[in-house]
């Protein structure tokens, strides 16, 4: 009588786990140096972040959020980047084939903080919002790095359309 009970728990337990991971969020390890210094500040620390899926249910992201998405180049890979521009923004690019890009509808512009060491929109252009999977909301491990990830955008990366224009005559 014991074994059927075990299987019954398995049949219900696994879907419950998957559903929670799918709809609430999960913890993931950050690989690579593309988000230095916000994540993985030096090569000896590996950060674990909580990826919040509830926050992106309606595909709403703010400039400065750190998000995870399916890589447009390789659908089996997930990447973690910072949102620089949302739809309609004029973004000054860093090494893309156009100097200034207007982000099309339903797309966003993402960049790694470590300029030059990151596969991001400067490489493959604006990314479709449908690839968005989660928002990174806090660092959960190691304990010395416990913190809530703040929304932050370097002033020199603010899109041109919301930047106050200062003209010197």
């Amino acid at each position: 009588m014991k074994i059927p009970n075990f299987f019954k728990n398995l049949i219900f337990g696994v879907p419950i786990g998957i559903t929670i991971v799918d709809s609430v969020g999960y913890v993931a390890r950050v690989d690579g140096i593309s988000m230095q210094p916000a994540l993985n500040p030096d090569k000896n620390t590996t950060d674990y972040v909580f990826l919040n899926r509830l926050a992106v249910r309606s595909y709403e992201v703010q400039r400065g959020d750190i998000v995870s998405l399916v890589s447009p180049k390789d659908p089996t890979q997930k990447i973690i980047k910072r949102v620089v521009g949302v739809q309609g923004d004029l973004v000054k690019t860093l090494g893309y084939r156009e100097l200034v890009v207007k982000v099309p509808d339903g797309h966003f512009w993402i960049e790694g903080d470590h300029t030059g060491h990151s596969m991001d929109s400067n490489n493959f252009g604006p990314v479709s919002l449908g690839l968005l999977t989660a928002k990174a909301s806090c660092i959960v491990w190691p304990p010395s790095r416990w913190q809530i990830i703040q929304n932050f955008l370097p002033t020199n990366r603010v899109p041109l359309n919301i930047k106050p224009i200062i003209r010197v005559f």
């Binding site: 419950i16 998957i18 559903t19 595909y59 998405l69 399916v70 180049k73 659908p75 479709s128």
Partner: protein, 151 residues
Amino acid sequence: MRDHLVKLLGTLGYVFQYGCVVHCTFEYVGDFVLCSGPSMEPTIASDDILFTEHVSVLTQSMKRGDIVIAKCPTNPKQQICKRIAALPGEKIKTGFASYEFVPLGHVWLEGDNSSNSTDSRSYGPVPIGLIRSKAVCKIWPPKHVTMLSGT
């Protein structure tokens, strides 16, 4: 009173458990999609219901000619139903004498009704990550129940 509460909690627990099982089935095995719009005529008419499976998307085994359901690249809340016209690395004709190569990790989607379809010809190659499922058969209306296989 306490008995009722315990019973209620028990029922809610069952609803939660079965809800999770249903979620996993629809997310990882297969689900039903109501199609609207003329872009896939004559294969699929407006208001047909399709049965779609997620397994071949999860195992990355899509072929040219498959009909797939994907998130619209220009509006993630909308879904589109198109046919895969070219896989990564293949050449696709975009004009009278112009060709384009489909980049890595993307596919070229086209509707069967090429005169009335918004597809890759207007928004370019679509990332594979946007594809949700592959259509297997048409189950509604009952007169037109057919398997949908690649051409």
